[in-house]
Amino acid sequence: MSGNHPGLSNNFSRSGEKFSWSKDNLRSIKNIISKYPKGREQSAVMPLLYLAQEQNNNWISIECIETIAETLNMPKIRVTEVASFYSMYNTRPVGENLVQICRTSPCWLRGSNKITETICKETKCEINDTSDDNKFTVVEVECLGACSNGPMIQINNDFFEDLDEESTKKIIDNIKEGKPNVIGSQKGRRSSENA
């Protein structure tokens, strides 16, 4: 499975399984929709896409789109348009850990190329690819907003900052072995305090 960034593809696919909202999500949906005026429920499409992605192994299947369209009573194509517009909605399956490497100028100046190399080597997969054991999908992304702590990567919902080749390798190894990782700066900085 290679080719495009999973969030920048216009081709959606079916997962083959029925998608229905979990109880928790149903509760959140009710809460989210209540924030919009009556008749404007469709505005909730983005948070719902996010919930669906979370519930559906980190990607948006056609089943998700159809469920969202039904929930918000809007045309399926409109949901598809939104899901395809934003790169953070994955339109094809990704591995258990979605590794997003920031490659924008500040991180790049601080050596994001080497981080990319290390990650590709350690996870045994190319950019935009998923590893054979389905543990990792590696993608390069534009600025994730932690420039003062570059180079940095995001794995699923966590930021890992102030990386070098060694700390990057360790993070990947820990994930492979199921060990916990330190989130945030790998040099012990709190937030982005002076180094």
Binding site: N10, P75, I77, T80, E81
Partner: protein, 677 residues
């Protein structure tokens, strides 16, 4: 000065315009043409092509005129060097990814991009990188896609959503990756889908059946009328030699605006299939080829002894109808019938036509559909109802619980559902209610009281007032209103056609009416005048070839009572002869009184007899409206819809390969699996 007018300057010329207009509209009023791709006056404003840039004094940058509202004292400049440079820049960007395939593009010669590139394009490209290529998308059997040519104006997306009412098209991705597609590349399920072809300013969406057929400058244009439903949409028929190659709409703001249905746009290949090209006579239970001399001789002998009845089909023009009436008057009264589907009518015009002018439907705030499925019977009227619906009109439905592209409240299956409490409540609140009663009920009503009751009901709830009549009768046939106006009906108005006593007639002349095959005529001698071999022709004793509406001139009165002319496009196929000339010949041989020698004479005689028909394009005024009685009593009848399949509603469409493909590919799409079967 009125409050709504403001003073502006366009290229230093001072004008007064409505303050609610946009800069582009004001420029047009001032006579300045603004180039555009995404702006279309029937669609919402998108402002994404940026071609319509103009300069506004004191504004630092060029602005897109289609999205810019007017302000008092605004000074607009459309012809400066800055504007020209801006538009040239936009054009250069548009052309970056546009392929240079004009020589093989169907849009070539009538392409907005091509035309405007003549004014604003550079003669060579500065772009050295790779052009993008986009996979073509499936949009069904009618719309061909070459998506690399797309410039993302989103006119098609807005049309599908706002006009056709089927939100199935969309733009996926963004920037370089933006692509127009239908949801999961399914076929568009609209009856108006062909209009995206006209809307597309480039060659991305073109007609599949017309693909690689002709260039626009080779075609002969003939103005005509859509006869495949009763709306009378204005069409333009393009032909080369003796063949029609395509049909496109003509703008008529009162009727079809800029749209036509897919049926008339694409069924023209059916014009040439299964044509009756020569007279046939039945010998030994089999139709065999004959000639005019022989067949007319046999017919003449029969007409000397047998008592005839004439049936008028759904595609018969007024002149033919008049000639038939004139001929049949030699045999007495009440022997011509156009209501072959048992259509119940009263004497006056307002009991069988659409009394609300079509472009007024959108102003209604409550619409009752009584036994009609406008989506497949008359897609243009359905679009107008959809417009009303978008203006917050409520739509109620009585009859079958049909699914339309807007929400309706279903009240029940019989006419008595008109007394539904919710409906009465809504009617009392409504300021401009409208009733549309369709053939599903009209063809079932047997009691004149029921029809009169509908008038009383309409009167009671202010559907009919002194100023307006919003009680509308809708039938899907192009010929019906006109034929009823000239009186081509047996006089017993609510009497069903099927009750006609078979003993009274011994000879049936059918002018394109398949009802000649009805059991009630089993013992009659049958003569079929028609252009296509259908059940009517197969069972007849004599079959005479007549021209199609595109092969002769003719007048049709549309459903709202507006006479319009369909013009001859090319000569008839085979040895087909116009009906009136056949009847003229028979009259001469039978020494009947039949004066017209030419079609023009026939037409002027028709207009002399019925002067109201001579005023083309104007709605006929009602002379004697139906008198209203106070009692309301509805008979119990079950709705039976006249058309179950939009793409196969008449003999021509049934013979069209394109329509057959539509049935296969579109009606089988799950989203259209509705109660039409």
């Amino acid at each position: 000065m009125s409050d709504d007018l403001i003073n502006i300057k366009v290229n230093q010329k001072e004008i007064q315009v409505d303050k609610n207009l946009t800069v582009m509209q004001a420029c047009e009023i001032a006579g300045e043409e603004i180039p555009r791709f995404c702006y279309h006056d029937k669609l919402s404003i998108a402002g994404n092509c940026r071609m319509c840039l103009v300069e506004i004094e004191k504004a630092p940058k060029l602005v897109s005129s289609c999205t810019m509202p007017l302000m008092e004292g605004m000074s607009i400049i459309t012809n400066s060097e800055k504007v020209n440079a801006g538009r040239k820049g936009v054009m250069e960007f548009l052309l970056i990814n546009h392929p240079l395939d004009c020589p093989i593009c169907d849009q070539g010669g009538e392409c907005d991009l091509q035309d405007q590139a003549m004014y604003y394009g550079f003669d060579k490209s500065r772009y050295k990188e790779n052009k993008r290529a986009v996979d073509n998308k499936n949009m069904g059997p009618l719309v061909n896609t070459i998506m690399t040519r797309c410039i993302h104006c989103t006119r098609c997306v807005r049309f599908a959503t706002e006009v056709a009412g089927v939100p199935e098209l969309g733009m996926l991705g963004r920037g370089e990756n933006a692509e127009i597609t239908t949801y999961l590349e399914q076929s568009i399920t609209s009856e108006l889908s062909g209009n995206v072809i006209d809307l597309c300013p480039v060659g991305a969406l073109t007609s599949k059946p017309y693909q690689f057929k002709a260039r626009p400058w080779e075609l002969k244009r003939t103005d005509s009328i859509d006869i495949f439903d009763s709306v009378g949409s204005n069409i333009r028929v393009d032909s080369r030699a003796e063949e029609i190659l395509r049909v496109t709409p003509r703008t008529n703001e009162y009727i079809n605006e800029e749209w036509i249905s897919d049926k008339v746009r694409f069924n023209y290949d059916g014009y040439y299939q299964q044509r009756i090209d020569t007279p046939y006579i039945k010998e030994n239970q089999k139709l065999s080829i004959s000639n005019w001399e022989e067949s007319l001789k046999v017919l003449k002998d029969k007409l000397k002894t047998l008592k005839p009845l004439a049936l008028i089909g759904e595609h018969v023009d007024l002149e033919t109808g008049y000639a038939i009436k004139k001929f049949m008057s030699n045999y007495g009264k009440d022997n011509v019938e156009c209501r072959t589907d048992n259509h119940a009518v009263l004497e006056s015009l307002d009991s069988y036509r659409f009394n609300t002018p079509l472009n007024d439907i959108e102003n209604s705030d409550l619409i009752i559909l009584l036994g009609t499925n406008p989506k497949i019977e008359t897609p243009i009227i359905n679009h107008k109802i959809f417009k009303a619906y978008n203006n917050d009109s409520k739509v109620f439905n009585i009859g079958e619980n049909i699914s339309l592209n807007y929400k309706t409240e279903y009240l029940g299956e019989s006419l008595s559902s008109l007394n539904n409490e919710n409906l009465i409540k809504a009617l009392k609140k409504s300021t401009n209610p409208l009733i549309i009663i369709g053939s599903a009920f009209l063809n079932k009503i047997k009691n004149i009281k029921t029809l009169k009751s509908i008038f009383s009901y309409a009167d009671k709830y202010k559907v009919i007032t002194k100023e307006k009549n919003n009680l509308n009768f809708l039938n899907p046939y192009a010929s019906r209103v006109g034929q009823l106006i000239i009186g081509n009906t047996t006089n017993k108005l609510c009497e069903p056609f099927s009750n006609l006593k078979k003993d009274n007639f011994e000879l049936v002349l059918s002018f394109g009416s398949e009802h000649i095959a009805n059991e009630q005529f089993n013992n009659c001698f049958k003569v079929y005048f028609g252009h296509h071999g259908d059940d009517g022709a197969m069972g007849s004793d004599i079959v005479l070839p007549t021209p199609l509406y595109t092969e002769k001139n003719g007048t049709f009165v549309n459903i709202e009572g507006r006479p319009q002319e369909a013009k001859k496009c090319h000569n008839p196929i085979g040895s087909a002869k116009e009906e009136w000339s056949i009847l003229k010949k028979l009259s001469d041989e039978l020494s009947f009184d039949f004066i017209p020698n030419t079609f023009e004479q026939l037409r002027s005689e028709l207009f002399d007899k019925h002067p109201i028909l001579s005023d083309y394009h104007e709605i006929i005024a009602v002379e004697n409206s139906t008198s209203i009685t106070p009692d309301i009593e509805f008979e119990d009848c079950k709705a039976e819809y006249p058309i179950s399949n939009f793409y196969m509603s008449d003999v021509i469409s049934k013979n069209s390969v394109t329509m057959a493909k539509c049935v296969e590919e579109i009606t089988s799409t799950p989203s259209l699996l509705e109660k039409s079967a």
